[in-house]
């Protein structure tokens, strides 16, 4: 084997396409997901959710239910073990929804009010559906709309700064030759990972063992330990395979319920959420109402920039959908203002959902840029070239690397942008109007402290231990490739262990930070091991292990604007008879540092882009104002793109070296969705000549807007 140090040829694993190392297990069904791992004496918990949107629980009629076949217990606020939600977790204070059954207050429809545990899942469900819970109902308010008088500016958090301001926006707008002032809305959207949330908890030799589906098992273990005041060393959480997460899989009521019940019953307890329960228990993307004002010189150079974004939160917890953050990275102006506002309603607390902030924010901002290009009469890409900042518009910090223009250049070449006639409403093919549009994309490239261990085994193989989570992205495979390159060995000699809190703390699979964070820790440990091996000597039976902890190195990172960038292109066809929009082509070109595994990276980009298509045309959760709960909270009622909606999609990337960066890898988890809805909306404008500022761009909206535009045109002609 090669164990020399210094400048040696790497294996080239990073950057080469590799199928998932666990792919065979997944396609053959051998891979077990958290709801499928068998246990002796397993019991099943079923959550009961409130049917009222606000009030108090008057009574829980558990008596008759306890007599039903197989029922073991009913936990509710009258008898549940106490937990402590007054702690600071990794991402701040916990969402009070994890303080399960601690009081009689109901802050929204779908709040968990009881858990029925039975011998079988069917018995638990039947009993849960039979459980009579009576409420003292109070009037509720679930109406989200712009301009609510009770909107407020939230405080800053380590994750989101509520407001940034420089210069005088009003003066800047007054002095501008061209002004865009428009409002955009996006609806409530839901994660809907294919695998529902599921956890099995049991006490095993004095330790709590939780088999779960999550984005970070150290994270969930630590939150559970704090919530239940357990010794952190006594809590183990594993999450071997995860069927999608998208921001929704942290600590949720199902793990807490399973832990409570197993503590009471002394038997393993499994709690699986239904699709419909997921609509109220695991968070979602807040609807947004955004106002953007852009002031520019006649040549498109921005003088004034103002992005104000309103979202909602619950009455029990604060979450800010940070839609206004894009301008802090993308576009500079002497007068620059970004602001988040919140409305508190009787609804569940929203949470991070794929590209939180950037996804809805980019729809508004990148639509507004297109409107500005139209008003200035210049090409949308040229407008972005003209406004390319030298440094962070708000921070003033240099960019670690910023290749957004390279993305536009490559994308324009491949898409055939140069041949595009910018005038709207001209291209017709049968009953279809055709148009194309573009938008920029960006997402922060963050990093979090991680520990890793790499062991040289006596048999010549290597074992990597890193508490990563593979939420379907191919993280396990990516770490295999990273380790192989660092160790300078073939990937099939590397075994990677992930998703077990006993492996030690590591960054979660979230915020597009996983791969960068874990790769850093794995590389440091692997390099250390390689150096030790280079000293020679045999490998003892227990192997030789090198460990790493990146906390200090991350703390020493130079302050820079670190982001991935991209350019989205869309071609659409709009049916003139019906207003139906069909996307014909999508192209995304990204600058996202080193791409570890082109195969899974492309999948991830494309997955994000399809979601962007879905966001543009389909996704929308409907809340019934009268009951305060959803209508159609299932995959029949909540539409996302079907196969027939998804055209040929291409995703690719440009070189994006990051000078001086210790890893060179940026995140790619979120950026695929960013800007797609705007590119499609801009293409719909190019096809029809009508702007759509409200998502989703449904047929009725397109049809009615076209009808109104026709009528206006006819009215205008009549009066002329």
């Amino acid at each position: 084997m090669t164990t020399t140090t210094g400048v040696a040829a790497v294996t080239g694993a990073v950057g080469s396409a590799h199928t998932r190392v666990e792919g065979r297990d997944k396609v053959t069904g051998a891979a077990r997901y958290s709801g499928e791992v068998p246990f002796a004496e397993l019991t099943h918990g079923w959550l009961v959710l409130s049917t009222v949107a606000r009030g108090r629980i008057r009574s829980v009629g558990d008596g008759p239910v306890l007599a039903m076949p197989g029922v073991l217990t009913v936990l509710h606020h009258g008898n549940a073990p106490r937990v402590d939600t007054d702690y600071m977790g990794m991402l701040g204070r916990p969402n009070p929804i994890v303080g399960l059954f601690q009081h009689d207050r109901v802050p929204f429809a779908g709040w968990p009010v009881a858990l029925v545990v039975a011998e079988t899942s069917e018995q638990a469900r039947e009993a849960a559906e039979a459980l009579v819970v009576q409420y003292d109902e109070e009037p509720h308010d679930v109406a989200f709309h712009s301009g609510r008088s009770d909107a407020y500016t939230p405080g800053d958090t380590p994750i989101v700064k509520a407001e940034t301001e420089k210069g005088d926006v009003e003066a800047g707008l007054d002095a501008s030759a061209v002004v865009v002032d428009a409002e955009y809305t996006t609806p409530e959207e839901h994660h809907n990972p294919m695998e529902p949330h599921a956890a099995t908890a049991r006490w095993d030799g004095g330790r709590l063992d939780v088999i779960d589906s999550n984005q970070g098992s150290s994270w969930v273990a630590s939150e559970l330990a704090q919530l239940f005041s357990f010794d952190p060393a006594s809590v183990r959480v594993r999450s071997e395979h995860v069927g999608g997460a998208f921001g929704s899989k942290g600590l949720s009521p199902h793990q807490v319920a399973a832990v409570m019940a197993t503590t009471v019953l002394h038997r393993p307890v499994r709690v699986v959420l239904t699709r419909s329960q997921m609509f109220s228990l695991i968070g979602y993307r807040s609807p947004t109402a955004q106002r953007i004002r852009l002031g520019a010189d006649a040549d498109g150079r921005l003088r004034a920039f103002d992005h104000q974004a309103q979202s909602l939160t619950s009455t029990v917890h604060e979450f800010v959908e940070s839609s206004a953050v894009l301008g802090r990275v993308m576009y500079d102006a002497d007068a620059h203002h970004t602001l988040h506002r919140l409305v508190r309603l009787d609804v569940p607390t929203p949470t991070w959902m794929r590209a939180p902030g950037e996804a809805p924010g980019s729809f508004a901002l990148e639509s507004a840029l297109d409107e500005l290009a139209e008003k200035c009469g210049i090409d949308p890409i040229a407008l972005r070239v003209r406004n390319e900042p030298e440094a962070g518009p708000v921070s003033g910090l240099p960019f670690s690397s910023r290749n957004v223009l390279a993305c536009f250049e490559e994308g324009a070449r491949r898409f055939g942008w140069a041949d595009r006639d910018p005038r709207p409403g001209l291209r017709r093919e049968g009953r279809w109007l055709l148009g194309s549009g573009t938008a920029a994309a960006t997402y922060p490239s963050g990093v979090g402290p991680s520990t890793a261990a790499v062991t040289a085994e006596a048999d010549g193989t290597f074992t990597v231990r890193i508490n990563a989570a593979d939420v379907g992205t191919g993280a396990r495979t990516a770490m295999t490739l990273v380790a192989a390159d660092a160790l300078e060995v073939d990937p099939d000699r590397v075994r990677v262990r992930i998703a077990d809190s006993d492996l030690g703390p590591a960054m979660i699979a979230g915020g597009s930070m996983g791969t960068r964070s874990w790769a850093w820790a794995v590389t440091v440990a692997a390099n250390e091991l390689r150096e030790r091996l280079s000293l020679g000597g045999g490998i003892p039976p227990e192997g030789i292990t090198a460990r790493s902890n990146t906390a200090e190195a991350i703390g020493a990172l130079t302050q820079k604007e670190r982001h991935s960038f991209g350019a989205q292109f869309a071609e659409v066809a709009v049916d003139v008879d019906t207003g139906e929009v069909r996307v014909r082509r999508l192209l995304g070109i990204y600058a996202a540092g080193t791409i570890v595994n082109p195969l899974t990276a492309r999948s991830q980009f494309i997955g994000g882009m399809i979601w962007g298509l879905s966001m543009a045309l389909h996704e929308e959760a409907i809340r019934d104002q009268a009951s305060g709960s959803h209508v159609g909270a299932d995959l029949a009622g909540y539409h996302f793109a079907s196969h027939a909606d998804v055209p040929i999609i291409e995703a690719d990337w440009v070189d994006d070296p990051v000078p001086g960066d210790p890893v060179g890898i940026k995140g790619i988890g979120e950026i695929g969705i960013v800007g797609v809805a705007a590119a499609i909306a801009n293409a719909v404008w190019h096809a029809t000549g009508v702007r759509h500022r409200d998502l989703p761009i449904r047929p009725d909206r397109v049809l009615c807007a076209a009808d109104e535009a026709r009528r206006r045109a006819a009215g205008g002609a009549g009066s002329a």
Partner: protein, 330 residues
């Protein structure tokens, strides 16, 4: 879980007798709607009588040259049948526009006629619904009714009928055959789905315990020149927000015969007779088609969030009749 009985019938009279043997019994065809509703608690049958093995799975000519379609013919087989495609293309197109390939392989003709509305209030047992629970109210009227009825609705219920197939059958004057313990019977499509009125829970005119045995399409030369167009919020696997089945015969620029039925606008497939009357003997041009659509839609009573359907249906009538006219002229 809630337990229920299951019996498989092999003969029509056996099936009818089995259904009569238990209260709250239901026939089970493909189960693509009923089983979902059972999971959601909307349907709680004590007994399922599986009718998929009945000898009703054929499509053939009637004596007069019409088509007779057995009740257990799957949606996939119906849409693929050469005679259906040749003589009633709109019917094949309508069936193919519905559901997904997997569902069409399971779903039967009889079951398709009897599928229940997908109104989100009807399918959610935590909410009131006059159709599911008579007298409990209709929250859709003041709530979410983006895809609800604009024609023939009542204040008690504004749900739409979900079937694409039934829209084509309505256009072609299909006749539904059934069997009861007292013998066979027939209902024309025009009478099969009664008006909503004050009884939205009564969805068909079938007598109690009746088993649909088949659908007869009378001979209709105009049906060979027909099409179905469905508008939906995604390209596949979604119910219509508006649809149309149309057949047209034009000679020398004059409409000689026309059939029009609209979908997703009412509690039943909406045969557009006012539009048909307006068109017969008149010119086959866009103005006349628009006027005919207006004649039909004059009765529309849109709510705040479904008014677009008036625009949509008008546009669909004009578009589809124009296409059919252009085809005749070629």
């Amino acid at each position: 879980m809630r337990e229920f009985g299951y019996e498989r019938a092999f003969g029509v009279s056996e099936a009818v007798a089995l259904l009569g043997s238990a209260p709250d019994a239901r026939f089970l065809g493909g189960g693509t709607n009923l089983v979902d509703l059972m999971k959601a608690g909307v349907e709680r049958p004590a007994l399922l009588v599986d009718v998929r093995e009945l000898p009703l799975d054929g499509v053939g000519f009637t004596g007069g040259g019409g088509l007779r379609i057995g009740a257990t013919v799957t949606n996939s087989d119906l849409a693929a049948h050469p005679e259906v495609r040749r003589h009633h293309p709109a019917l094949a197109q309508a069936v193919l526009a519905g559901a997904s390939g997997q569902l069409r392989n399971m779903a039967t003709v009889g079951g398709n006629l009897l599928q229940r509305t997908r109104c989100g209030y009807f399918t959610d047992i935590s909410k009131p619904c006059n159709k599911r629970s008579p007298g409990s109210g209709c929250p859709a009227v003041d709530g979410e009714h983006h895809n609800h009825a604009i024609l023939g609705a009542s204040a008690r219920c504004i749900a739409t009928h979900p079937s694409d197939m039934a829209v084509a059958l309505a256009a072609f004057d299909a006749v539904i055959s059934y069997e009861t313990a007292d013998g066979p019977g027939e209902l024309p499509m025009s009478e099969f789905y009664p008006p909503v009125g004050d009884t939205p829970h009564i969805e068909t005119a079938l007598p109690p315990g009746a088993l649909i045995t088949g659908v007869t399409l009378p001979p209709s030369p105009v049906a060979a020149h027909s099409r179905y167009r469905k508008v939906r919020e995604r390209a596949s696997y979604a119910f219509a927000i508006g649809s149309i089945a149309a057949a047209l015969d034009v000679r020398d620029g004059v409409v000689r015969e026309v059939r029009l039925a609209l979908g997703a606008v009412a509690s039943r497939p909406w045969r557009a007779r006012a539009a048909e009357q307006a068109l017969i003997g008149g010119p086959a041009n866009a103005e006349a088609f628009a006027a005919a659509a207006d004649a039909e839609l004059a009765a529309a009573e849109p709510l705040p969030d479904n008014g677009y359907k008036v625009t949509l249906m008008r546009s669909l009538v004009v578009a589809v009749l124009t296409e059919l006219t252009e085809e005749v002229s070629r």
